[in-house]
Amino acid sequence: MNSARKVGDFATQYAIYIVLVALVAGISVWDPHFLSIETLRNILLQNSTRAIIALGAAFVLITGGVDLSAGRVVGLTAVVSASMLQMENYARRFFPDLPHLPLWLPILLAVAAGLIIGLINGLIVARFKVPPFIATLGTMVAVYGINSIYFDMKPNESQPIGGLRSDFTNIGTGAVGHGPYSVPYLVIIAIAISALVWVVFNKTRLGKNMYAIGGNVQAAHVSGISVGSNLICIYGIAGALYGLAGVLESAKTGGASNNYGNMYELDAIAACVVGGVSTSGGIGTVPGVLAGVLIFGVINYGLTFIGVNPYWQLIIKGLIIVVAVSFDIRKYLARR
C-alpha cells in the first residue's frame, strides 16, 4: 500500500474526528481567543443533555430503527419533574398543596415516564410490526398531547413552570470545584452516562444483540436472538435516557413548559449520523456519537463566538451533515 492510499484510508477512517479538529482549528485561526478553558467548559455544559439524548437515539438507530419521540419525551419529563419540585413558598405552584418531596422521587417518576413511553415504542415496533418511523411518529404526537393536557391542568393552565427548588436547580447549574476549572455536574453526569452506554454497547449481550439485529435481522432471528424482547428493551432504555435528559434540561434552565425539547430528536439523529451511526443499522460507536454532538456544539458556540449570523449557522450545519456523512459512508461502501 502506498503512502497516499494510507493517508486516504486514515482520513476516511477518522473523518469525523478530523472534521471536529478542523472546525476548532478554523475558528481559532479566525479568533485565537476561542481556544480557552472557558470555551471548552461552555461547550461541554451546553451539550451534556444533547449527548444523553443522542446516545438514546443511537441505541435505536443501531437496531436499524429511528426514534422521533425523543424531543417530546424530553418535554414531558421536564414538565413532570418541574411540576413536583417547586419551592413551597412560590406563589404559583403547579400542585399548591404538594408537600416537600425527596429530590429523587420526582426525578425517578420522570425517568420512569420516559422509560414507559420507550417500552410502548418498542412494543409497537416489535409486536405489531409497525415501522419505527411511524410508531415513534405516533408516540411523538400523542406524548405532546398528554404533556399539554397535564400542563394545562388547573391551576397551572399552561403557564411556564418556575420557582424550582434550589437543590434541584443545583444539579443543572452547580459544579465540582470553583472558577473556570470547575467541572459542572451536568458534564459529570453526561460522562458517566456515556461510560455506561459504552459498557452496554460493547460488553453486554444486549449490546451485541443490538448490533446483530441492526446488522441483519433475519440472521439474528435464525441465530436464536429474541428480536422482539431485545427491541422492547432497547427502545425502553432510549426512552429512559430522553427522560433523564428532560429532567436535566429543567434543572439547568430552572423551569419547564410543554414546548421543551421540541425537535431535539432531529438534532440527536443529526449528531448520530455525523458521528458515523448508520441509519440502516448495525454500525455506531459511543465516541462517534459524542464527536457528532461536539461537532454541532462547536459550530453553535464557535460561530456565535466569532459573530456569524445565526441563519448562516443553519446553512453550515446542513452542509456539515451531508458532507460528513458522505465522507463517513465511504468506510462502508464495499469495494466492488
Partner: protein, 505 residues
C-alpha cells in the same frame, strides 16, 4: 435440426462467470409451431441460457438469430420487441393493483389530445376481457391481483405472455402451482398457440408433461448441450440417464464410522401451508449424514426450517432422543442442540457489517456472560480464534468484517458459529452453494469429521455427486412429500432423479 425453418436460433452461446463456465457453446434451435422442451438438472445452465435470450446476461460469444436475422438483445424490452416473452417460475405481480393493470403494465392504452394523455381504463378492461375469453379464463379484470390464488395469478401471467402476441414464449415450470384442471387449460392454450405458429420453449422437470406436449427435447448438463431429440424417440429413463450421465469429477473425503442410535425421529410432519411439506417421516442416527435430495419446489428447505422453529407445523411430531419436543422458535431448537446453516448465506446467515468475531459468537453469547451481565471479551476472542484456526478460515484477523471474506470462508465462519453452540444435530441447507471447488472439499472434510465425532447431520443438496458422495442415506422429496429413502453407498443418480421427479398426481 436445420431441415425446417427455425424461428429462433441460439448458436453456440458461451457464458463464463468467475470460476465457472456456465454455458459452453450451447446451441438451441426452435421451430415455429412447436413445443421445445429444455431439460437438465438444477445448475445445468437452463436459466443462464434463457437469461442470455432476454438480455439479462450478455453472452461471451455466440449469436442469437430470429427468423434468420441476427438479434442484438440488451434487455427484456428488446426481447419483447423482437417477439419473445416469458412466463416466470417465480411470480412478480404488483399485488395491490388490478389484474388488468398487471397485464398491461408499462404499455397502458391511453387516449387524449396530443401530448395530454391519460390511461384508457375502459379500453384496458375490454382488451383484458377479450384476452381472457379467447383463453377461456374466468377472471375479473378489475380485481386486485393479490386477492387471486397463486394458480390464478399463474394463469394471468400466461395470459400476459400471450397478450404480447409473441413469436416465442418461454415457459419456466409453468405448471408448478397449477391444479390438474388448470394444467389441462394450459395445454389447450399451448395447442392454440402452436396452431398460430408460436414457438414455445418449455422448461420443466416433470417427465410425463414433457413426453405429452413436447415435440423436441434438448437436454443440458454442466453448461453443455448433450443433444436434441424428437420427443417421440424418448422415454423417462432415457431422459434421466442423459440428464445425469456424467462422471464424478468431484472428490469426497473418506467416510468412516457407522451410524449409532436414533437421535431424531420425525413423524408425519405436515405444514399448515397446503402446497408445502406433508406427512414427512424419517429417522436420523448418531454420526449419520442424511442427505436430502429433490428438485426446486420439493419443499426441502421448508421442512428443515420447520424442524428449527422458523416455520410452523400443523401436525406431526418431532422426537428428540426419545422425547417429543415442541420447537416453536430458533431458541428452542438451539437449546435442544440443533443448528441450522441456512440456504441464503447473505440474507439469513452473515451480518455483513460485523466482524468475523461477532459473527462467530452471536449464537452463543450466553456462554460468555460473567456476573453483572458483562461479557468475557478474552474468552470470546480466544474461543473464536481457536475455532477459526480449526476450520482453517482465511482471514487477516478476527476483527475483519465478514463481508470482506470469500464465500467459502464466510460459510466456514457460519459453521464455526454453529459449532460454538455445541450442537448434536446440524441442519445444513446447500452448504456448498456458491463456493469454489477447493473450499467445497474443505467443507466436505469438516462435515465428515463432525459425523465421525458423533454429530448427526441433515444435508440438503441439489448436487447429485455431493449427495451421493457424502450421505449415509438420502431422503428424496417431491412436491412436499418424502418419496423415498435410499442408501447413499448403493444409490444411483437415476434412482434419485426418478424419486425426485415422481409426480404424485
Amino acid at each position: 435440426m436445420a431441415d425446417t425453418a427455425c424461428l429462433l436460433e441460439m448458436d453456440r452461446i458461451s457464458k463464463a462467470f468467475p470460476g465457472v463456465q456456465a454455458l459452453d457453446e450451447v446451441t438451441l434451435n426452435v421451430r415455429a409451431g412447436t413445443v421445445h422442451a429444455l431439460m437438465g438438472e438444477n445448475g445445468a445452465g437452463k436459466s443462464t441460457l434463457m437469461k442470455c435470450l432476454f438480455g439479462i446476461y450478455r453472452p461471451d460469444s455466440g449469436e442469437i438469430r430470429i427468423e434468420g436475422r441476427k438479434a442484438d438483445i440488451a434487455g427484456s424490452r428488446d426481447a419483447l420487441q423482437l417477439g419473445i416473452s416469458m412466463i416466470h417460475q417465480e411470480l412478480h405481480p404488483v399485488p395491490r393493483r388490478s389484474v388488468m393493470e398487471n397485464i398491461w403494465l408499462g404499455r397502458f392504452p391511453t387516449r387524449g389530445y396530443g401530448p395530454l394523455r391519460w390511461v384508457d381504463h375502459r379500453r384496458m378492461y375490454r382488451d383484458t376481457k377479450r384476452l381472457f375469453d379467447e383463453l377461456d379464463m374466468d377472471i375479473a379484470p378489475d380485481r386486485p391481483i393479490g386477492s387471486l390464488s397463486v394458480s390464478k395469478i399463474q394463469l394471468v401471467e400466461i395470459a400476459k405472455a400471450v397478450s404480447f402476441h409473441s413469436k416465442v414464449i418461454v415457459m419456466d415450470e409453468p405448471t408448478s402451482s397449477l391444479t390438474g384442471n388448470e394444467v389441462e387449460q394450459l395445454f389447450r392454450i399451448i395447442g392454440d398457440l402452436k396452431k398460430r405458429g408460436v414457438a414455445i420453449i418449455y422448461i420443466s422437470h416433470k417427465m410425463e408433461e414433457i413426453l405429452r406436449i413436447a415435440d423436441e427435447v434438448t437436454i443440458m448438463r454442466d453448461g453443455r448441450r448433450i443433444g436434441t431429440w424428437p420427443a417421440a424417440e424418448l422415454t423417462t429413463d432415457l431422459i434421466i440417464s442423459r440428464m445425469v450421465g456424467r462422471e464424478l469429477t468431484q472428490r469426497f473425503p473418506e467416510r468412516t464410522g457407522v451410524p449409532g442410535d436414533v437421535v431424531l425421529k420425525v413423524e408425519n410432519l405436515t405444514s399448515p401451508v397446503a402446497s408445502s411439506f406433508r406427512d414427512v417421516s424419517f429417522e436420523l442416527r448418531r454420526g449419520e449424514v442424511l442427505g436430502v435430495g429433490g428438485l426446486v419446489g420439493s419443499q426441502r428447505t421448508e421442512l428443515i426450517e420447520a424442524l428449527f422453529g422458523l416455520r410452523s407445523v400443523a401436525s406431526g411430531r418431532i422426537v428428540l432422543r426419545g422425547r417429543p419436543v415442541n420447537i416453536r422458535r430458533p431458541q428452542d431448537a438451539i437449546k435442544n442442540g440443533m443448528a441450522l446453516l441456512t440456504e441464503e448465506r447473505r440474507a439469513t446467515g452473515i451480518f455483513p457489517v460485523l466482524s468475523v468475531l461477532e459473527n462467530t459468537v452471536v449464537a452463543s453469547l450466553r456462554k460468555f456472560e460473567k456476573p453483572y451481565l458483562l461479557i468475557d471479551e478474552g474468552k470470546r476472542r480466544a474461543e473464536t480464534e481457536r475455532s477459526i484456526a480449526r476450520l482453517a478460515v482465511k482471514t487477516p484477523s478476527v476483527r475483519t468484517l465478514i463481508r470482506n471474506l470469500s464465500g467459502g470462508n464466510q460459510q466456514k465462519v457460519l459453521l464455526a458459529r454453529w459449532l460454538m453452540t455445541e450442537p448434536d444435530i446440524l441442519l445444513l441447507d446447500e452448504p456448498t452453494r456458491g463456493i469454489d471447488v477447493g473450499a467445497k472439499y474443505e467443507i466436505y472434510t469438516i462435515i465428515a469429521e463432525l459425523a465421525k465425532q458423533g454429530k448427526s447431520i441433515i444435508m440438503i443438496s441439489s448436487e447429485m455427486p455431493e449427495l451421493l458422495g457424502m450421505s449415509d442415506r438420502i431422503l428424496v422429496m417431491c412436491e412436499g412429500r418424502a418419496t423415498g429413502i435410499v442408501d447413499g453407498k448403493r444409490a444411483t443418480e437415476e434412482e434419485i432423479m426418478r424419486l425426485a421427479a415422481q409426480h404424485s398426481a
